[in-house]
């Protein structure tokens, strides 16, 4: 299939086309020897063929995948970005630039995580792809490298990645909602320190954002959050202190000119939705027993 795809990929017999075809063939050969799966390569080649991606660009995409594979990164973020760029009709050089930046982000995150583990006496740690992905992608969600490094420096000993990922996403979410950056960082660090970022408390960021949207100052919200973290208080307590009701959470923050939708069901504050970031956008429920209408009351 791979050979078929590459044969079909670049029609024409002129020397230029042949040299280009050679580029792709060489890139595929490298990718295969590095361990990139033929399924992934087939998928990429088919995508290129269907969307008439130039062979030079395709060779560049494959080289990025090869590099990601060589450095032990998950390939999905890279293939997803290529698919997204092609689907959005983005010029190939720009896709290549974005891929290069992503590769750098993953390198930075992986090396910083490794340094953190080494500081705690653990050499050659196994970094699950899922958490490497979430932490790396937080750099595209408004978190600076310095902020991510600072968060990792405040990791527990030994470092545990799930709370770190949730802390990074919480901080990014707060910053995106115009929360004071320094206070957002303080919330993330203190939450980490007190091991507050657990799956049961995934609505933390949401409560804080809703409180801000209701006009409560950043300082008041931060003070309430930090005290709750230190006392290991409940989310319901934090919400109640900030005047956030279950209805507020159900409707969720609405930005821009999109009106809020009336809700039919109102789960209790902190109800689990299966969404690690508080069921922010879409309604979420568990398979087999679908969520209540609106999936967490979002409809």
């Amino acid at each position: 299939m791979l050979v078929l795809a590459s044969l079909f990929f670049f029609p024409g017999n002129d020397p230029f086309a042949q040299s280009m075809r050679g580029d792709v063939a060489e890139a595929i050969k490298d990718a295969q020897s590095t361990g990139v799966g033929s399924t992934t390569l087939n998928h990429l080649l088919t995508l290129g063929y269907q969307n008439e991606v130039e062979s030079k660009a395709m060779a560049g995409f494959i080289r990025v995948l090869t590099e990601a594979q060589r450095e032990g990164f998950p390939l999905e973020p890279f293939t997803n970005k290529i698919e997204e760029g092609v689907a959005k009709r983005v010029p190939s050089p720009l896709i290549q630039t974005v891929l290069a930046k992503k590769l750098e982000d993953y390198r930075f995150t992986k090396s910083t995580i490794q340094e953190t583990f080494e500081k705690h006496g653990e050499k050659n740690p196994v970094i699950p792809h899922g958490y490497l992905l979430r932490l790396s992608e937080s750099l595209s969600c408004g978190l600076s490298r310095e902020e991510l490094r600072t968060l990792l420096e405040h990791a527990s000993s030994p470092p545990v990645l799930p709370p770190l990922a949730m802390a990074a996403e919480t901080m990014a979410s707060l910053k995106q909602n115009q929360f004071d950056p320094a206070m957002a960082q303080q919330i993330a660090i203190v939450g980490l320190k007190h091991n507050y970022f657990t799956p049961e408390r995934r609505d933390t960021a949401r409560i804080i954002i809703v409180a801000k949207k209701k006009g409560i100052s950043d300082l008041t919200v931060t003070t309430a959050a930090l005290e709750t973290f230190q006392r290991k208080g409940t989310l319901e307590g934090l919400a109640s202190r900030l005047g956030v009701t279950s209805g507020d959470l159900t409707r969720g923050p609405a930005f821009g000119d999109v009106p809020s939708q009336p809700s039919e069901s109102q789960p209790p504050v902190g109800a689990q939705r299966g969404n690690d970031m508080g069921g922010g956008g879409p309604g979420v429920g568990q398979s087999g027993g679908r969520a209540a209408p609106g999936g967490g009351g979002r409809r």
Binding site: T39, T40, N42, H43, T46, L47, E76, T79, N80, E83, E84, G85, A87, K88, V90, L94, I95, T97, V98, K101, G130, Y131, L133, R134, E137, S140, C141, G142, A165, S173, Q176, P199, A205, I209, G252, A254, F255, G256, V258, Q261, Q272, G274, N275, D276, M277, G278, G280, G281, P282, G283, V284, G285, Q286, S287, R290, A291, G294, G295, R298, R299
Partner: protein, 194 residues
């Protein structure tokens, strides 16, 4: 009636006398071999032989008992090739289909839209098959999907032309191309698998 015949007889006789006056000439020495060579059957190429063989009608006689082994072999080959094809994961990149799935409802309130689709990393950013339905009498578009646990970026494709982020998402991500994607993180209710 005798006039024309008489003329033809005279002409024939005149021709015969001309032939009789012609000198005797010996035939060329290689006449016989060259004629024999021309008469010899030509040697056909292998391909030509095969073509003629394949193009010649044949009749096959068989009894059902004699055909049974051949039929059995064909059935086994058919089953094996089917198993081989089904065991290959063709064009599947993404979450393991065996993963736990989570039901998600996407909602968007939008006036003045003819079509809205959900696009994202879960469908290779293609809207086909992911069209949202407008609720009767409202400007609310919705679509329920069952997605494996994981982290997704997504947006709404409006009228097949512009992509807008989910205004209700809790977190967004710069797509690198000048726009924002909404981020959705799904995982098992009690698990930590992402």
């Amino acid at each position: 009636m005798d006039g024309p015949l008489q003329i033809e007889d005279d002409q024939m006789r005149e021709i015969a006398s001309w032939i009789g006056k012609l000198p005797d000439i010996e035939p060329p020495s290689n006449l016989v071999p060259s004629v024999m060579r021309a008469l010899q059957p030509k040697k056909l190429s292998l391909w030509r032989c095969f073509y003629r063989w394949a193009n010649t009608p044949k009749s096959v006689n068989f009894t059902p008992l004699r055909a049974a082994p051949v039929v059995m072999i064909l059935i086994v080959v058919f089953i094996l090739s089917g198993l081989l094809i089904s065991s290959q994961k063709v064009f599947r990149v993404g979450p393991d289909p065996g993963q736990h799935r989570v039901s998600v409802i996407f909602n968007l309130s939008l006036r003045e839209a003819r079509t809205v689709s959900v696009i994202g990393t879960f469908n290779s950013w293609k809207g086909q098959g992911y069209e949202m339905k407008r609720e009767r009498g409202l400007n609310v578009w919705s679509l329920e999907l069952s997605l494996p646990e994981g982290r997704y970026e997504y947006g709404f494709l409006v009228d097949g032309q512009r992509v807008i982020p989910d205004p209700r998402a809790l977190i967004y991500q710069d797509d690198g191309f000048g726009n924002r994607n909404s981020v959705l993180i799904l995982r098992d209710k009690n698990g930590e698998k992402v």
